[in-house]
């Protein structure tokens, strides 16, 4: 799984443009929320990047889950590499979503942190995936490491749908943006900025993943060349 240098460069440019559009939409184009106190209206715009960050973290862990399942069936190392790279990006965006959510919590809930079901389950997700890397670091033999990590990657993913559903199943102060009964909980101008944010972050995820896969491909190439040099 080696994205070419050209593909990576094209993705880098597309990602940059998409992000600039998303920033413009979130900061200038989107109207201010009218149903909240005027003093916290600017802070409400955090959702345009907070929700996409959370979405990307869940998407990344889903990719890790799928790649882990395929690895266990095929035993091909490329799927293990994909699972590893995607989990790294997942952790990155889990931290971004948690931090930005906490910053929104202060003006909205008057606290940086509360043990709400969504916040608690999301913290568990973060800890589970940090443990995923600890597990990988603890096993030296590559085939065994990949097998154990794949099994762990499948079980760790169970926490993701639990986190997604936590605000629907339990009493929580965290708002539900997409409710099947109530529809989209945002006004028309806000919804378009929100959707563009989701799209831009998805492109960013693909870009980061392609770059990260290229790093792993180069690691393998260096190892292969070193081996060839030593055996020559």
């Amino acid at each position: 799984m080696n994205p070419s240098r050209r593909t990576v460069n094209v993705l880098n440019v597309v990602s940059l443009v998409a992000m600039m559009v998303a920033i413009y939409m979130a900061t200038i184009q989107a109207p201010s929320a009218t149903n909240i106190d005027e003093s916290i209206r600017p802070a409400q715009r955090i959702i345009y990047f907070h929700v996409p960050s959370a979405w990307i973290s869940m998407l990344a862990f889903f990719v890790t889950f799928v790649a882990s399942v395929i690895y266990l069936r095929s035993k091909h190392v490329k799927w293990d590499i994909l699972a590893l790279c995607s989990a790294e990006i997942g952790i990155l965006f889990t931290i971004a979503a948690t931090a930005s959510g906490s910053i929104w919590g202060k003006p909205a809930w008057n606290t940086w942190w509360t043990w709400d079901p969504r916040l608690t389950t999301y913290t568990i997700v973060l800890l589970l995936y940090i443990a995923y890397f600890m597990l990988r670091g603890a096993i030296e033999e590559p085939e065994r490491r990949a097998r154990f990590a794949a099994v762990y990657g499948i079980f760790a993913f169970l926490s993701v749908p639990l986190t997604f559903m936590s605000i629907r199943w339990w009493n929580t102060i965290h708002p539900v943006i997409l409710d099947p009964n109530k529809g989209f909980g945002l006004g028309p101008g806000m919804a378009s900025a929100f959707m563009i944010g989701i799209l831009a972050f998805t492109i960013l995820y693909v870009t980061l993943l392609a770059n990260r896969l290229r790093v792993e491909w180069m690691v393998e190439r260096v190892a292969a060349l070193r081996e060839r040099l030593l055996s020559a």
Binding site: I40, P42, A43, R45, I46, F49, H50, S53, E88, I89, L92, F93, I95, A96, A99, S100, I103, W104, K106, P107, L204, L208, N211, R212, R214, V215, M218, V219, R221, V222, L225, R226, R228, L229, A232
Partner: protein, 46 residues
């Protein structure tokens, strides 16, 4: 406004650190790759 700026800075800082570290690693790997390819070429010429 400060909360909004703070959240955006945090999100972009996290992404920037990841990209920076990845690029640094990519640069180091590129150097290693060039060095190994040259060494292999020299060995084949001998």
């Amino acid at each position: 406004m400060e909360y909004f700026v703070g959240a955006y800075v945090v999100i972009w800082l996290v992404v920037f650190v990841f990209v920076f570290l990845m690029n640094r690693r990519l640069g180091a790997l590129d150097d290693q790759l060039t060095m190994l390819e040259e060494a292999l070429k020299r060995q084949e010429q001998k």
